[in-house]
Assembly symmetry: C2
Homo-oligomer: 233 residues x 2
DNA sequence: CGACAGGTTGACCGTTATCAAAGATCGTGG
DNA sequence: CCACGATCTTTGATAACGGTCAACCTGTCG
């Protein structure tokens, strides 16, 4: 089992911030919160460090309190795909957390990152003691499952054009109301996320621009000129 | 909200079989089981009937006790993708079950089908009362999430060749040990599931056969002659 | 200021979708 | 139980979509 790069720095004080950040806990009472604090551990990672590898045993839930984490997978033929990027408040490690299983993905700190960890046995005790937490996690899971299936359907049925356009539309939606967005990752990563190549991303965005649908600006910013046009491609 | 085709036949007796079938319940005591029976309702659907549409409110968990159910999605551009097929013991309806949300997929009975339903409020009460059920469902969800992400990664990184080969390999694996498998669906559906066309499936299987990797037989049966060769495409 | 990763552009070609038509299979009703 | 129609499947010809390789450009950071 390879652990190279996994050299996170453990802080043995209990970080209140990260717990209260997380949607799955923030409905709880103060006393319950402090019980959770007791089993939470704060860990820091430097840019590029790996939190876990595919093949590692999963034994903790990781909750991001600061920084960004890249979650990616390697396909059977060895190609990398970016699955998602975690921001503060997001969590990961859950996939194999409820059973004896191995991670199937990789988690890498994209910047200086701080996470809160809860190990499996502690988490399971919490879940049995406070069943409402399970309901929260179930809700989160069902959302993510829906997202994952929606994404799969897009790959199965839409061409690159449309996948890029939908990505732009959804990124814009997150900035409620604005007509300009900032790509949340490099075009290289975006290509990996959308199952295409940086060259194609570059070309398609140029096409969109020539059709008057968008305007590319410095610093990964893109102004959407014709959202409807973009979505009817 | 369209409900055409949703004309399932309700049986008001409580079907013991379907509950004990389900992995998420089968660890419980007899008394707990009988408590679950009380809130379960058995419903039958004829071939082609729709259990729910995308856009319907989700308010029940559906557990298959007899038959087969096709779960499919429509993409933004209106193309259909087969997401999975449910067999007895599988469940669905969970995606929007833990929140006020709408179904994003369609569920259609492929044959004469019987399902057990538990409505949202009853299920939530059960989960709060017996937290171990939540853990079971969480385990199931995390598996399915892993599957969905693996599938997405395949679409993003592998070509049709490989996706078909991997599908054959996994279907074979399900028949532990055998060197012959039966496709669990029509090639048309398989194409939809794998994000390709029936024509391409047909051609690729012929190629595999010409390369001596497989042998196609009647009744959707395929003999795998060279599994390793298939996986190194 | 230089190096290096990221990004762009062009030329080319492989893969796979599409359209069309013929052939096989399945389920149904006579 | 057979015949018919509907649907699924196969095969061929064609073209578009997008990946790959190579070269060059750009910006960012030590």
């Amino acid at each position: 089992m390879s652990r190279d790069g996994q050299q996170g720095c453990y802080h043995h004080h209990h970080d209140k911030m990260c717990v209260s950040l997380v949607p799955i806990f923030n409905h709880l009472e103060v006393e319950q919160m402090s019980e959770i604090m007791k089993v939470v551990q704060s860990v820091s990672y430097k840019k590029g460090e790996i939190l876990y590898h595919a093949g590692d045993h999963s034994d903790s839930l990781y909750i991001v309190s600061k920084g960004k984490i890249r979650i990616y997978r390697l396909s059977e033929s060895g190609k990398e795909q970016l699955v998602r990027i975690l921001n503060p408040g997001d969590f990961t490690g859950e996939l194999a957390l409820f059973q004896e299983a191995l991670h199937e993905s990789y988690a890498e700190a994209m910047t200086e990152t701080q996470v809160c960890m809860i190990n499996r046995t502690d988490l399971q005790e919490l879940l049995l003691k406070y069943p409402t937490i399970s309901l929260k996690i179930l809700t989160e899971f069902s959302n993510r499952l829906d997202e994952a299936e929606k994404q799969t359907t897009r790959f199965a049925t839409e061409k690159v054009d449309t996948r890029i356009a939908l990505f732009l539309a959804e990124t814009l939606e997150a900035n409620a109301g604005a007509n300009e967005l900032e790509l949340p990752m490099s075009k290289k990563d975006l290509a990996s996320y959308l199952g295409t190549t940086p060259e194609t991303i570059s070309r398609k965005l140029t096409e969109f621009e020539q059709q008057g649908l968008i305007k590319q600006k410095p610093h990964r910013r893109i102004e959407i000129l014709d959202l409807d046009g973009l979505l009817f491609i």
